[in-house]
C-alpha cells in the first residue's frame, strides 16, 4: 500500500508541464544518440550529466533516465536500417531486423522493436518496484566483509560475462579500473597514493572525464575509422508502422520471458544491455517453434532482443540504487550523477530517501511512454537522422567531450584525463577488452579498498570472517564457481562428467 501511495505521489510530482517538457527533449535526444552508430547510451548519459549541473535534482535525474532509455531503444533504428547496432545493446536486433528491412518490412520491424522495448521496460519497472526495497533491506545486513566480496563479485561477473570468449580480458579490464581507482587520496587515512607529484591527481581520477573519454572520444575515433554505412531505403519499406496486436499476443511468452531475463541480467553488476539482449534472444530461439527463421528475419527474434535489452535498464538501476553498484555502464554514470545532485545511493536509500526509488520508477514510466509515442509516430524522422553525415556530427560531439568534463571542475586537467582515457579506451576496445568491467572497477575501487582494510582492522588482521560469515561465504562460493567455469578445461571436464552421467542413466533405464 505504501508503495502504491509513493508511486501515485511521484506521478503527481512529475506530471507537470516542465517535467513533461524535459521528458520530450531528453528522450528525443536519447533516441537520436542511440540511432547514430558509434554514439552509445553511456556516452549520451555522461555528456548530458555535464549539461544538467544547473537543473534541480529531480529534473536532472529525469533527463538522464530519459536519455538512457531513449538511447538503448534508439540503437534498434540503425541495427534495422544499417545492419550496424547504434549501441552494442542492439547487436542481437540487427540479426533479424536487417533481413526484415531488406525484405521491405523496415517500418514494421521498427514498430515491433518499439513495442518490445516499451513492454520490456515496463516489466523491468515492475520488478524494480518489487525488488529494490527488499534488496536494500537485505543490504543493510552487509558489513565491510560482505561489501568487499560484493565488489570482487561485481568485477569477476562483469569480466566473465562481457569478456566474450576470453574472460581473462574482462578480468584484466576490471583490474585496470581498480588500479585507476587507487590514484589519489584513499578513504581511510586520507593518504595520497600514486599522484606522481601532480597535484591535480590528489583527488583521484574523476569518473565523468574518464567515461566521456572512454566512451565519447573513443567512439569518435571508431566512427571516423570505419567505412561509411548505407541506409536501407527501399520504396517497399513504406509498410505498416503500428505493431499488430495479434503478433504481440502470439509472442506474449517471449515478451514476458525476455523482460524477466533482461531485468535479471541488469541486476548482475556491470553486465549490461547487450548481454540482456543476447540472453533473451538465445532463450527465445531455444523455445521457438519458428527457430529456423531466427537470423533470417524472425519477428520473434527481433521482439526477444529488443524486449531483453530494454528490460536491462530498470534492472541495472536496482543494484545502482540499493547497493551503489551499477548494473551497466550507463548506470555507473548515473550513480556519479546521483552523487553530484545530492542523492546517496546504497543500502540506506530506503531509510534516508524511500520515495526516491518510486520517483525513479515513475521517471522510467514517462521515458517508456515517450519512446513508444516517438518510436511509433516519428519513424520516418528517425530514418532521416541516420543520414546526418559523420563529418558534421563528430566534431560537435568531440567539442562537447572537451568542454563537458571541463565544466564540472573548470580545470584543464580534466580535458587531459578525457583525452588519455579516449586514446587508451580506443586501443583496448580494438583489442577486445570490454569497457564495462573497467568502468565498474573505477566505481568499485574505493569500496573494495576501504572494505578490505576496514574488515581486516575489525578482525585484527584475521582473514577468517571473510570466509565464514554466511553472506560472505555465499559470495566466495559464487565467485569461485564463476572463475572455475571460466576455465575451458574445467568446463570441458564438467560437460564430460554430465555426458557420462546421462549415458549411465540411459543405460540403467534400458537394462531395467
Amino acid at each position: 500500500m505504501d508503495a502504491l501511495a509513493s508511486l501515485s505521489l511521484a506521478f503527481q510530482q512529475f506530471a507537470t508541464s516542465e517535467m513533461l517538457f524535459h521528458v520530450v527533449w531528453a528522450t528525443l535526444l536519447g533516441i537520436f544518440v542511440g540511432s547514430l552508430p558509434g554514439l552509445t547510451a553511456t556516452m549520451g548519459v555522461a555528456l548530458l550529466t555535464t549539461l544538467t549541473y544547473t537543473l534541480d535534482r529531480d529534473a536532472a535525474i529525469l533527463v538522464l533516465i530519459c536519455m538512457y532509455v531513449g538511447a538503448i531503444y534508439g540503437g534498434s533504428r540503425s541495427a534495422i536500417l544499417l545492419n550496424i547496432p547504434g549501441t552494442p545493446a542492439s547487436a542481437a536486433t540487427s540479426l533479424d531486423g536487417y533481413p526484415l528491412a531488406q525484405s521491405g518490412r523496415a517500418g514494421y520491424a521498427m514498430a515491433l522493436a518499439t513495442a518490445g522495448s516499451a513492454i520490456g521496460t515496463m516489466v523491468g519497472i515492475l520488478l524494480l518496484v518489487l525488488l529494490a526495497p527488499p534488496l536494500a533491506e537485505a543490504a543493510l545486513r552487509f558489513g565491510s566483509f560482505e561489501f568487499f566480496w560484493l565488489a570482487v563479485f561485481g568485477i569477476i561477473i562483469s569480466g566473465q560475462l562481457t569478456g566474450g570468449i576470453s574472460p581473462l580480458k574482462g578480468y584484466i579490464a576490471g583490474l585496470l579500473g581498480l588500479m585507476v581507482a587507487m590514484v589519489g587520496s584513499e578513504g581511510i587515512h586520507a593518504h595520497i597514493r600514486f599522484n606522481f607529484g601532480i597535484q591535480e591527481l590528489n583527488g583521484g581520477i574523476g569518473l565523468i572525464p574518464a567515461m566521456v573519454g572512454a566512451f565519447g572520444f573513443a567512439e569518435v575515433l571508431t566512427v571516423m575509422w570505419r567505412r561509411k554505412a548505407k541506409v536501407v531505403d527501399k520504396p517497399a519499406e513504406r509498410d505498416r508502422i503500428l505493431p499488430k496486436l495479434v503478433d504481440l499476443w502470439r509472442y506474449k511468452f517471449t515478451i514476458g520471458r525476455s523482460g524477466v531475463i533482461g531485468t535479471m541480467v541488469g541486476i548482475i553488476p556491470g553486465v549490461g544491455e547487450d548481454i540482456g539482449a543476447w540472453a533473451s534472444y538465445a532463450a527465445a530461439r531455444r523455445t521457438s517453434k519458428e527457430r529456423d527463421q531466427f537470423g533470417k528475419g524472425s519477428l520473434e527474434g527481433l521482439t526477444a532482443a529488443e524486449t531483453g535489452n530494454s528490460a536491462v535498464v530498470p534492472g541495472a538501476l536496482i543494484p545502482a540504487l540499493t547497493l551503489a553498484v551499477p548494473g551497466s555502464a550507463p548506470a555507473a554514470v548515473l550513480i556519479a550523477a546521483l552523487f553530484i545532485h545530492g542523492v546517496r545511493p546504497g543500502p540506506m536509500i530506503m531509510i534516508e530517501q524511500p520515495e526516491f526509488v518510486y520517483s525513479v520508477a515513475v521517471m522510467l514510466v514517462f521515458a517508456t511512454i515517450a519512446i513508444a509515442v516517438f518510436g511509433l509516430f516519428l519513424t520516418r524522422f528517425f530514418v532521416l537522422v541516420l543520414k546526418v553525415p559523420r563529418e558534421i556530427l563528430m566534431p560537435l560531439v568531440f567539442t562537447l567531450c572537451v568542454i563537458g568534463p571541463y565544466a564540472l571542475t573548470q580545470r584543464t586537467f580534466e580535458i587531459w584525463v578525457m583525452v588519455g582515457f579516449g586514446l587508451v579506451g580506443f586501443l583496448l576496445r580494438q583489442m577486445n577488452y570490454p569497457m564495462a568491467p573497467l568502468v565498474l572497477g573505477i566505481i568499485l575501487g574505493a569500496l573494495l579498498d576501504k572494505s578490505l582494510r576496514r574488515g581486516l582492522t575489525l578482525s585484527d588482521g584475521d582473514l577468517t570472517p571473510f570466509f565464514t560469515r554466511p553472506i560472505s561465504a555465499t559470495f566466495v562460493i559464487i565467485i569461485a564457481l564463476s572463475i572455475a567455469l571460466g576455465i575451458p578445461a574445467v568446463r570441458r571436464a564438467i560437460s564430460r562428467a554430465l555426458d557420462s552421467l546421462l549415458r549411465r542413466q540411459k543405460e540403467g533405464m534400458t537394462d531395467g
Partner: protein, 166 residues
Amino acid sequence: MTLDSAKADQWTSLVLFVLGAAMLVGGYTMDRLEIRQIHPASIPGLVPIILGAAMMLCSGLLFWSARHRAGEATEANGTPISEGSLKNLAFAAGYSVVYAIGLVGWLPFWLATAIYISVFYVHFSWQADATNRSRLLHAGLGLAFGLVGAFAIATLFEHGFLVRLP
C-alpha cells in the same frame, strides 16, 4: 592484421606485467604511516599490492594463452585494421588531441572550436575531383558551420551553465 592477434596480446601482456609489477612495488614501498600508529592491516599500500600481483598473474596467463593460440596458428577474431581507414583514424586522433591539449587554452575557446570544427568538416568531406569553385564553396560552408557550431556551444556553456570557458 588485427589488433586482437596473438602477437598483439603477447606484447600487451608484457606491458600489463610491467604495470602490475610497478603497482606491486609502489604499494609495497608506500608509506605505512607507522608514525600515526595505524593498524598494520590498514596500510594504504595493501590493496595496490594485491592488485599488482593479480595483474601480474593475469598478464602471465594472457601471455601463455596468446603463445598457445599462436602455436595453434588460429586466426584472431578482432577487427581487421584493413577494414577501416588508418589515414582517417590518424587524422581524427592527432587533430583532436591538438585541439584539446594545444588549441584550447591557447586560443579563446570559441576561436579554437571554430577552427577545429571547420577543418574537421572540410578535411573529411573534401572531394579531390571537385572544381575549384565548388571547393571554395565547400570551404566557405565549413567555415560557416564551424563558426555557428562554436558560437552555439560557447554560448550554451558560458551563459546557460555559467562556465568560465578555458
